[in-house]
């Protein structure tokens, strides 16, 4: 009885001649409007503005701050947090959290060192083994999150403790000294080498960090896999229904995070010279990397933010710490002021975003 259905929709005759052009409105074109629009489209630029402001202020407050050496010191101080931040960013983009990043880094560095010194394995092979084991630790996290469906916070809280404890047990808390490493296995210290353009030392580790940020940024924006990472974090059910292999993506993300942490562990050897199971990164690496990620504008609820933002986030913290220490005196007051500045930085960031919305 298709005819009474036809009658019921007879008013659709009015559609004949409906407009077929895409809606357009004239735009405001003032310089301010264009800046606003650019910020709206490029939210990772906002922390950059905060960063530049901080640098200028500290430069005015402390005469030594603007020296090339200070800047290069800051960069080398954030190298490890930055690499851990890459790992953390991936995980946080999937709406997860990884409390074990620092522990994986420290344990991987210990494994690389002990493989060489305890069993006499050639350093390059020890390094590869260390990287592989770091990846495996990340994989274990991913498997528990994706397959057993446990909350990432709990999984990585557990593996954080497990890995750190394993690290102490396996290493018997013994430090491998820098001079021994330099002699026997310089490859372990590779990332501690530097180039010195104009007398200013820049560690290989700094270039590594920048390269990692650049590559990851490309991968996240320009490849299908990157889009899937965002989709999984944005709404996992929707991603699943839309045909993303959410479990596989999650496992890959955590495993990759593990690899990055192991790379950070290798970098730690170069940077600190020695291999020490009690490096503070094991305890603090998680909170430091999460801080960089959040200041950089990545949402802890997943799916929003960029790795470049994380890089600026790490830099902001590095600049604040160095700047305050150069200006101030007492570590307790420095600690106090860093807390204040972090809140302020994000408040300014928020304010710029609002103005540009």
């Amino acid at each position: 009885m298709s005819s009474d259905a036809k009658a019921a929709t007879s008013y659709e005759e009015g559609l004949k001649g409906a407009s077929e052009s895409v809606a357009e409105f004239k735009e405001k074109k003032s310089a301010l409007a264009r800046l606003q629009h650019w910020l709206h489209m490029t939210p990772s630029a906002v922390p950059m503005i905060v960063l530049i402001a901080a640098v200028i202020i500290f430069g005015l407050l402390s005469p030594n701050f603007f020296k090339a050496m200070t800047i290069s010191t800051i960069l080398q101080q954030i190298a490890i947090v930055g690499i851990l931040g890459c790992a953390q960013s991936l995980v946080v983009l999937t709406a997860g959290i990884d409390l074990s990043v620092g522990a994986i880094a420290v344990f991987s560095s210990v494994l690389m060192g002990q493989f060489t010194f305890r069993y006499g394995i050639p350093a390059p092979i020890s390094i590869l083994l260390g990287l592989a084991l770091g990846t495996a630790m990340g994989f274990a996290n991913g498997w528990l999150v994706a397959k057993v469906k446990l909350p990432p916070f709990i999984v990585t809280l557990g593996t954080w403790q497990i890995i750190l404890a394993a690290n102490y047990i396996y290493s018997a808390n013994e430090t491998i000294r820098s001079s021994e490493i330099a002699e026997v296995a310089p490859a372990l210290q590779f990332w501690g080498n530097s180039i010195q353009p104009g007398g200013v030392k820049v560690l290989y580790a700094v270039f590594l960090l920048i390269a990692m940020v650049a590559v990851l940024s490309y991968v996240l924006r320009q490849t299908a896999w990157g889009r899937h990472v965002y989709a999984v974090g944005d709404d996992p059910d929707a991603a699943e229904l839309a045909g993303v292999q959410t479990k596989r993506v999650l496992i890959q993300v955590y495993a990759l995070a593990g690899l990055f942490c192991a790379i950070a562990g290798w970098v730690m050897i170069g940077r600190f010279g020695s291999v020490s199971p009690s490096a503070s990164t094991g305890q603090l690496g998680n909170i430091q990397s999460i801080t960089a990620v959040v200041i950089g504008g990545i949402s802890l609820f997943g799916g929003r933010g960029s790795i470049v933002g994380m890089f600026f986030g790490a830099l902001i913290v590095g600049v604040f710490e160095m700047g305050l220490k150069m200006v101030g005196t007492d570590p307790q007051w420095t600690f106090f002021l860093i807390g204040l500045l972090i809140i302020l930085a994000v408040a300014v960031d928020q304010w710029i975003r609002k103005a540009s919305a």
């Binding site: 200070t70 101080q77 808390n173 430090t175 820098s178 010279g273 009690s278």
Partner: protein, 315 residues
């Protein structure tokens, strides 16, 4: 017979790990069961209170404890003693010291003072214009942290402010204090920061040897490792090795294995017939001694060389 508990500040610092090994060896020898506990971080006295409670619940005969907070732990210790458990403070005296049945410890102020005196003598006239970096433990300023720092400054001839805390001295020779968590990573970062503040630093005090090793890496990175004097505390084998290699100028050696084994012996004796150990003559505690280890002895400061130091080192 019976169990003993060892409660350390943490179980990550090699110092405590070796202490535990010493205690274990002795306990085995004397046929005592040893259970070890540790705080989660340095300064975790709450974890130590929980450990004391677990020991009481578990019916231990004696407790060896390196207190994270010398005053805050006192009530828990009292509860243990009331329950008939022998409590011995190791490494760090309680406040008041008689809160424990006995104390086997290093005199941490003296440990600092020794390296301070040595540094002053070694620098000679330069000491008057020295630029000093102090690499401390943590901003919570636990008692070892304060005692060593203040001992060093006193030994070096710097006028102290409040001796109960570091950081309030006004002597212009002090470039600054930074905290290190007592490891290489912290030592390196702290040194880098202080160097950015004043690249001319030539005297570095460090809370312990791992942080000294970190500081050395930072100095090496800017090519200043040869003209800076580093002093430290602990006397662990890697630390003594670093003294021998000229990385650390001098370190004050402590004897944690002694503390531990003496502690276990005391518990064994107590378990047998209730005797309690007596303190060193003239002191309120059993001083397990401290020795300055250096290959460049300075006049007027007693020291041993690294050969002897290696013989006595712990781990």
């Amino acid at each position: 017979e019976g169990t003993a508990c060892l409660i350390t500040k943490t179980d990550t610092n090699p110092f405590f790990v070796k202490m535990k090994e010493g205690a274990e060896a002795k306990a085995k020898e004397l046929g005592i069961e040893l259970k070890a506990y540790a705080g989660k971080i340095d300064g975790d006295h709450e974890g130590q209170v929980a450990a004391v409670e677990a020991c009481i619940a578990d019916g231990a005969k004696g407790i060896l404890i390196t207190a994270s907070d010398t005053k805050a732990i006192v009530d828990a210790v009292k509860a243990a003693r009331d329950a008939g458990v022998l409590v011995i403070a190791l490494d760090t005296p309680l406040d008041p010291i008689d809160a424990a049945d006995a104390t086997f410890a290093t005199d941490n102020f003296k440990a600092g003072e020794l390296i301070g005196q040595w540094a002053k003598a070694t620098m000679g006239d330069g000491a008057a214009t020295a630029k000093i970096a102090l690499l401390d433990l943590s901003i919570a300023q636990p008692s070892v942290d304060v005692l060593r720092d203040q001992g060093f400054l006193q030994g070096f001839g710097v006028e102290l402010g409040d001796p109960a805390k570091w950081g309030d001295e006004t002597d212009p020779r002090i470039v600054g204090h930074e905290v290190t968590s007592g490891n290489e990573e912290g030592g390196l970062k702290a040194m880098e920061t202080l160097l950015a503040k004043d690249p001319e630093i030539n005297m570095v005090y460090t809370i312990n040897e791992p942080s000294a090793a970190g500081a050395y890496e930072a100095l090496k990175a800017v090519g200043r490792e040869k003209d800076v004097l580093i002093v430290s505390v602990d006397g662990g084998c890697p630390g003594v090795g670093n003294v021998k290699d000229g990385i650390i100028g001098a370190t004050s050696q402590q004897y944690p294995l002694d503390m531990a084994s003496k502690g276990i012996e005391a518990i064994a004796a107590f378990a047998k017939d209730g005797t309690k150990p007596a303190p060193t003559e003239g002191k309120a505690f059993v001083d397990t001694g401290v020795a300055l280890v250096t290959d460049k002895p300075a006049e007027g400061v007693e020291s041993i060389d690294t050969a002897k130091g290696t013989e006595l080192c712990w781990g």
